[in-house]
């Protein structure tokens, strides 16, 4: 079957036999975007988190057929080296990663959170950022999430109010 969607603002058509193939496999193996990681394969760890139409989803548990006509954003499309997303900038400032494997998933989950809750409390973070980091970088991540909110508020002051 043929499936059309946008990936990081670029239109893309793929031909695939099984529409139930996880979006994660398509992104990594067909589109060669390796930033999104395979962790548990059962939507538990969050390493595969990316955005579909702006919403965080676990791409290991998201059949590619459901991406038809939608906008998919991976860590590669979140920002660039020259113009990092506030979350990426904060991650760099707080030197969050240790091994780094789970971090793209955390950053994508955090970016989605800041879209919904520009100034998240610790409770908002506890409820919404439920990914798993085996290096236990949670403390630095919490600092980075608050820092990302500050950076985002400076770069986009219109979104300082939590709109939930």
């Amino acid at each position: 079957m043929k499936i059309f969607f946008h990936i990081n603002n670029t239109p893309k058509s793929i031909e695939i036999d099984d529409g139930n193939t996880p979006l994660l496999w398509v992104v990594r193996d067909m589109l060669d975007l390796k930033g999104t990681k395979f962790g548990c394969g059962k939507a538990a760890c969050g390493a595969c988190t990316l955005h579909v139409d702006g919403e965080a989803v676990r791409s290991c548990s998201y059949a590619v057929k459901f991406a038809e006509g939608k906008e998919v954003t991976t860590i590669e499309g979140l920002g660039s080296e020259q113009n990092p997303h506030p979350v990426q900038q904060a991650w760099i400032e707080e030197i969050v990663p240790q091994c780094g494997y789970c971090q793209p998933g955390f950053m994508m989950a955090t970016a989605a959170l800041l879209e919904k809750v520009p100034n998240p409390t610790d409770e908002d973070i506890d409820k919404n950022i439920i990914n798993v980091c085996r290096c236990a970088t949670y403390y630095r991540m919490r600092k980075a999430i608050h820092r990302a909110a500050e950076i985002a508020n400076v770069t986009n002051p219109a979104k300082t109010e939590n709109d939930v």
């Binding site: 193939t21 996880p22 939507a43 676990r58 290991c60 548990s61 989950a109 919404n128 950022i129 439920i130």
Partner: protein
């Protein structure tokens, strides 16, 4: 002698006729009421075999925490009802659950996957209490009997219980002990016969 024989035959005939009449009265009395009561009760029990099954009740929690598995354990990751029965702002039901079961991850899915509203909390209730809550328009989303029948027999999320898929280990999830066809017939029969809720 001839009179005596005639008398005996007459007496026996009368006895036989009475006995026959007595038997037919008994046979005519019991089949009228008992099977009717039994059928209503069976329809209720068949319907509730499904409605009270963990596949349904797991998403009708009494503590705002969805349950999962046959043991009805609290949902992983601290997921809870949230403000709109869909979880939290950026991590919600659709972060993991899609409109279909996912055969790769074992994550269950169906259209409009969500928790039932808090007013429809069934966890811990008896079958009769669940039925009372189901019929109560202040708790059931103001649904009429017709709307309840539609919800119970046509809604894809409700009917997911008959196609619950396999879990993360590839093991089929337990289904209710009633076929989809028998369940739908029982729901319609129970409502058609007055939606009478038996005592607990």
């Amino acid at each position: 002698m001839k009179k005596l024989i005639l008398y005996i035959i007459s007496t026996l005939t009368v006895v036989v006729v009475f006995a026959a009449n007595y038997k037919s009265k008994k046979a005519g009395y019991f089949p009228i009421d008992e099977p009717e009561v039994s059928t209503k009760q069976n329809a209720f029990n068949t319907m509730m075999d499904v409605v009270s099954h963990q596949r349904c009740v797991n998403c009708h929690p009494s503590d705002n925490v969805p349950k999962q598995g046959d043991e009805s354990k609290p949902h992983h990751f601290g997921i809870a009802r949230g403000e709109n029965n869909l979880g939290f702002q950026a991590t919600n039901c659709n972060t993991c659950h899609q409109p279909e079961n996912n055969v790769y991850s074992g994550v269950p899915g169906a259209p409009h996957w969500s928790l039932a509203p808090a007013s429809m909390a069934w966890q811990g209730l008896t079958r009769s209490e669940i039925a009372q809550a189901m019929l109560d328009r202040t708790k059931n989303g103001n649904r009429s009997h017709e709307e309840l029948i539609h919800h119970l027999t046509e809604d894809d999320l409700v009917l997911w219980v008959f196609q619950p898929g396999t879990d993360q280990e590839g093991i089929p999830r337990e289904k209710p002990p009633v076929s989809e066809e028998d369940y739908k017939a029982a729901v319609k029969e129970w409502f058609a016969s007055g939606a009478i809720i038996p005592e607990n």
